[in-house]
């Protein structure tokens, strides 16, 4: 044959080339290109999402403060609904019959859009009601109940502390790309938001196979590839549920905040922001959202960690401590007081007490004049080139005491208050355009000094610890839940521990000197508790002065440090000191002593809301 063998070889080479092309293309689509695998998954698999139950939130003593309960949504598939007894249904569900009629009419109007889908008719029907409905369900074809896990609040610990859980919105999804999908729930504020990662658990899924007509056929690989939902981690908080509840009661009908910290650990025992969101609204916050938003006292605003309050006289402790550390103030130094700072315009003014006095007495009697002199010595110290430099140094001290910056607690949305700075004054008055007299109001915690109740409470804890604090936090370490190391480390201030005893002594005397001795906080005295405290009365441009009080007890080995801040409450001793001392008493003694019962009643029944202007 004509070159037969050569041609056979050429043909066979051609065959090999074609086979290679086919194999190459197969290699590409089967191994290189992932597109086809993704498409196959998308069109043949249906992922049924299994929602996990959220972690439970416990208090420090193992009491549940946030749990889960089952509620039922009533779903209706309008297409499957025949004529039914609307009265019977309304009776079973405990809703007005008109509501059912109007909803059914609405579904009828939207029947095109709804198609064969089910819609939620009623949300969060409690189980007792659902049982009644379930017994009668056969009367209502097209209606069914769907169980859902929702939050339950056995203790009224306050909505701002706990936070709430709600369906994620578009903005939230954008902030957390890939983590959530529309329809998921997430903690929005408080502990729910702070420990969302632990609480939320992991969604699971069941994979179903569907055919080309979109009908579910069977479990994919008999469920071998399914993922079960992992329940969220339980959280143990540092909160003492009973104390928190008592705190809520004390702060009822007052605007302000109450914070208690265990000084040795930095654990927050109580954190009240008043007025707050009642826990009865939390589970279904969407329903009450308008009501909450319209409240002029802004219950969503968490005053404990966000409010910028002038700390008032409790800030004298800071200035005193700075003076001692700088050496410009010695405990035995005497300063005069003539119903106020005797230089210039006699401001800040002061109340009547003996003069001159030493540091202890100044703290005990909360003398404005004394601390104005003390701060002046700090700021006009020749050590520094000018007052600006001295103020910078002062800022460093104040920072180390936890002011003018965020403390770094694990509470979301914490703010840091504010301090007067050289930069700020230079801007306002021009460089060299201001002197001590210009800014003397900061001596007594007014003017440009702003602090959150948490910072003020932290000051109490710092003094209680004689020189250090542990960053306040609300989450305890427990199995599966870790907390950062910073919540275990002592944060030393720039003030040496040796300077604290005198200050502590002053605070002790303020409370324990007995009525008539000039101590500002004798009302906070509780027999046997050795409470050390400092009152404050801060000016409020929006009406009556704010009542402020910080304290800790007992004097040695303190177990609790408290800050109470009552807007428009007047003198520190009028509202804040009783509130704080009652809280201390409750915590340390477990009950309020008989002779203090009238005080407790006055506080519990006290209503300051009329004095407070809405925002």
């Amino acid at each position: 044959m004509i070159e037969g063998n050569g041609r056979r070889i050429k043909l066979m080479i051609g065959l090999m080339i074609v086979a290679a092309i086919i194999l190459g293309k197969l290699f590409y689509i089967q191994i290189v290109d992932e597109k086809y695998k993704i498409n196959a998954t998308n069109q043949s698999m249906y992922y049924e999402i299994i929602y996990p139950t959220r972690g439970i939130i416990y208090d420090r003593n193992g009491k549940i403060i946030v749990g889960n309960k089952v509620a039922y949504d009533i779903l209706v598939t309008p297409r499957e609904v025949g004529p039914f007894d609307t009265l019977l249904l309304a009776g079973a569900l405990g809703v007005p019959v008109e509501q059912i009629r109007s909803k059914m009419a609405e579904y009828d109007r939207n029947r095109r859009r709804i198609g064969y889908q089910s819609v939620v008719m009623f949300k969060q029907i409690p189980p007792e009601t659902y049982i009644k409905f379930a017994e009668l369900q056969y009367n209502f074809p097209g209606f069914r109940g769907q169980a859902r896990s929702i939050r339950e609040y056995p203790v009224n610990a306050g909505g701002n502390l706990l936070g709430y859980v709600s369906e994620v919105d578009a903005a939230f999804l954008e902030k957390h790309p890939g983590e959530y999908r529309p329809g998921d729930y997430a903690g929005k504020t408080g502990i729910e938001a702070a420990r969302e990662q632990d609480l939320k658990g992991e969604k699971g899924y069941h994979i179903w196979l569907r055919n080309s007509r979109n009908q579910i056929e069977q479990r994919f690989q008999d469920g071998a590839m399914d993922k079960e939902a992992v329940p969220g981690h339980d959280i143990v908080t540092t909160i003492d549920a009973d104390l928190q509840q008592f705190g809520q009661q004390l702060m009822q009908n007052k605007v302000g905040s109450l914070v208690a910290i265990e000084p040795a650990t930095g654990e927050i025992l109580t954190l009240v922001s008043s007025p707050g969101i009642d826990v009865s609204m939390l589970a279904d916050i969407g329903q009450h959202y308008d009501e909450i938003i319209k409240n002029p006292h802004r219950p969503m605003f968490n005053r404990a960690v966000q409010a910028n309050y002038p700390p008032g006289s409790v800030f004298k402790l800071v200035n005193g401590l700075i003076g001692l550390e700088e050496g410009t103030l010695r405990p035995e130094m005497l300063y005069p007081c003539a119903h106020g700072y005797p230089l210039g315009d006699h401001r800040p003014g002061c109340h009547g007490h003996k003069s001159p006095i030493n540091l202890e007495e100044a703290i005990m009697m909360s003398c404005n004049s004394y601390f104005t002199f003390a701060l002046r010595e700090v700021l006009e110290n020749k050590k520094y080139a000018n007052i600006g430099e001295a103020l910078d140094k002062w800022n460093e001290y104040a920072h180390s005491l936890g002011f003018g910056r965020k403390l770094g607690s694990d509470f979301p949305s914490e703010l840091g208050g504010g301090l007067p700075t050289t930069k700020r004054y230079n801007k306002v008055y021009g460089k060299g355009g201001w002197k001590f007299a210009t800014i003397k109001s900061m001596s007594i915690g007014q003017g440009e000094v702003d602090a959150t109740p948490l910072q003020i409470a932290n000051l109490a804890a710092t003094v209680a610890n004689r020189g250090y604090y542990i960053i306040p936090h609300i989450i305890k370490e427990s199995e599966g839940v870790e907390i950062e190391d910073k919540y275990k480390e002592k944060q030393y201030t720039m003030v040496d521990a040796s300077h604290f005893p005198k200050v502590v002594q002053g605070m002790w005397r303020a409370v324990n000197s007995g009525a008539g001795m000039g101590g500002t906080a004798w009302i906070a005295h509780v027999d046997g508790l050795d409470i050390c405290g400092k009152t404050g009365t801060a000016q409020n441009s929006r009406g009556a002065d704010n009542s402020v009080f910080i304290c800790f007890a007992p004097k040695d080995n303190p177990k609790i440090a408290v800050a109470a801040y009552v807007e428009n409450g007047g003198f520190g001793a009028t509202w804040a000191a009783p509130i704080a001392s009652l809280l201390v008493e409750k915590y340390l003694n477990g009950e309020i002593a008989e002779q203090r019962k009238p005080l407790e009643t006055r506080i519990l029944q006290g209503n300051l809301m009329a004095r407070v202007k809405g925002y």
Binding site: R7, L11, L23, K25, I29, Q30, A40, E217
Partner: protein, 484 residues
């Protein structure tokens, strides 16, 4: 069977058992995959006769019986002598089916006898192969002689045209594979080359532009001439230069049109065509004078190529049927139509592509099991292989086919009888064309053309036809082994 002819030893050595085993393997693979692809509908057993896998089992049994009949009972000598009557009989069937057949998916190509359907086009492959072998093995046959060439073309062309008339484009296309047989028997390789170039030009014209197409044609021909004339060093640079210049002509003209407005109406294509035609005329003349047949034919080739390019639009829009045009458009990516014509291919590629290296495992395919891929036990059976057995499974199937074809060709080459050799090549060509078109279609290399995958696809008609086709060859080859 008479014992004296078949000693064990004779059978052992005369029958090419490797072919038989490959054949059986492919049939089994097909059967298992047919079972897998209808699994979700719920046949309890692979033998359940109410399902396709059960029916296929019956087809397989009968096919094996048929194979035994051909191998051991029918005298192999019959095939050559009966080639003409068989061919004519099948031609009659092919025509008759147009009038008497039932319509299946737009083509009248099936006879129906009660529960059994069969397609004459399937047998026609056998009859054509037999007659082709018979004609081409005549003493004195030379394919280069016009008389014989035309006769050969007629034997192939007649059934091909009738089948085209039945709208069975796929089956008709298989006949194009006989060109490889003709090539083996002495047809110039330029034919195959020209066909490939024509297909390339067709695709280029559709996807890019006639200009590019003509440019590529020029390049190919010029290169051919230079290589043939062994004047590589002298002409290649000049040629490249001219081609580059022409390639940038449209851009240059676009720039120039800004200056000289008269250029605006002139299309670059016309200039290119003008240049080509002048050059072609010159080279035809030059080739004629210098008796350089090659040069002359090359120039004629350019003219023919240009004619093809210019008529592409007409062929595409008027000659091709609607669905064929759409399928080609989808293949070439000119149009996307994932819900319509493109659905089959898209789904088929998803099924195969999702198989990965080792596949999802037997009966675990999601695409093929739940009805995403249409025609999945017949024309798209390869999807099931691809999805459930992955790249390795696909490679195994393809290697089995390649081995089958290779072995048939190798056996054919050993034959002294031209008839057997040519018939063997015909068988190989048929299998190759089916293989390439079918698998090419499932992975998006070819347009959707409905022809079965030999031995794997569900269907008695196709299985029987390939069984007969292959076993006639095995029987003929056995004859060779016995007597020579």
């Amino acid at each position: 069977m008479t014992g004296e002819n078949f000693s064990d030893r004779g059978m052992k050595h005369s029958v090419d058992w490797r072919l038989v085993v490959t054949y059986l393997l492919l049939i089994l693979i097909g059967w298992v995959n047919i079972y897998a692809s209808i699994h979700s509908e719920g046949p309890a057993s692979i033998f359940d006769f109410s399902f396709r896998c059960g029916k296929q089992f019956v087809w397989i049994l009968t096919a094996v019986a048929l194979a035994a009949l051909i191998l051991f009972v029918i005298n192999p000598g019959v095939w050559q002598s009966a080639a003409v009557p068989i061919y004519l009989f099948v031609l009659v069937l092919l025509v008759a089916v147009i009038f008497l057949g039932i319509e299946v998916k737009g083509s009248r190509s099936w006879f129906e006898f009660g529960p059994v359907r069969f397609q004459p086009a399937e047998i026609s492959k056998i009859s054509t192969s037999l007659l082709l072998a018979s004609v081409m093995s005549q003493p004195g046959y030379k394919i280069t002689k016009t008389k014989y060439f035309l006769l050969t073309a007629l034997v192939i062309g007649l059934p091909m045209l009738i089948i085209l008339g039945e709208s069975e484009t796929g089956s008709a296309l298989v006949y194009a594979g006989f060109i490889f047989v003709m090539y083996r028997e002495g047809l110039s390789g330029w034919w195959i080359f020209s066909i490939l170039v024509a297909i390339l030009l067709f695709i280029l014209t559709l996807t890019l532009s006639p200009y590019v197409s003509v440019l590529v044609l020029l390049g190919i021909v010029a290169l051919g001439v230079i290589v043939q004339g062994k004047r590589l060093d002298k002409w290649l640079p000049i040629n490249l230069g001219v081609l580059l210049l022409l390639a940038f002509l449209p851009r240059l003209m676009g720039l120039a049109a800004g200056k000289w407005s008269f250029l605006e109406g002139v299309q670059p294509l016309y200039i290119l065509l003008g240049i080509c035609l002048c050059a072609a005329t010159y080279f035809i003349y030059k080739g004629f004078v210098s008796r350089n047949r090659y040069l002359m034919l090359s120039a004629l080739g350019v003219v023919a190529g240009i004619a093809l390019v210019l008529s592409t639009d007409v062929i595409f829009n008027s000659v091709l049927q609607d669905h064929q045009r759409k399928r080609i458009e989808v293949l070439l990516g000119i149009k996307e139509d994932p819900a319509g014509v493109g659905y089959n291919v898209a789904q088929s590629m998803i099924a195969i592509g999702s198989g990965g290296l080792t596949g999802k495992g037997f009966l675990n395919g999601t695409q093929t099991t739940f009805g995403f891929v249409p025609e999945q036990s017949t024309d798209f059976i390869f999807c099931t292989v691809g999805e459930e057995w992955g790249f390795l499974g696909c490679a195994l199937v393809i290697l089995l086919y390649v081995f089958l074809i290779y072995r048939i060709v190798a056996d054919a080459e050993k034959c002294r009888e031209s008839f057997t050799r040519i018939y063997g090549y015909c068988v190989a060509a048929c299998i190759f064309m089916h293989l390439f078109i079918n698998i090419g279609m499932t992975i998006g290399l070819m347009p959707v053309i409905g022809i079965p995958l030999p031995l794997l696809s569900y269907g008695g008609s196709s299985l029987w036809a390939f069984t007969v086709l292959i076993f006639i060859f095995i029987s003929l080859y056995r004859q060779e082994k016995k007597y020579y």
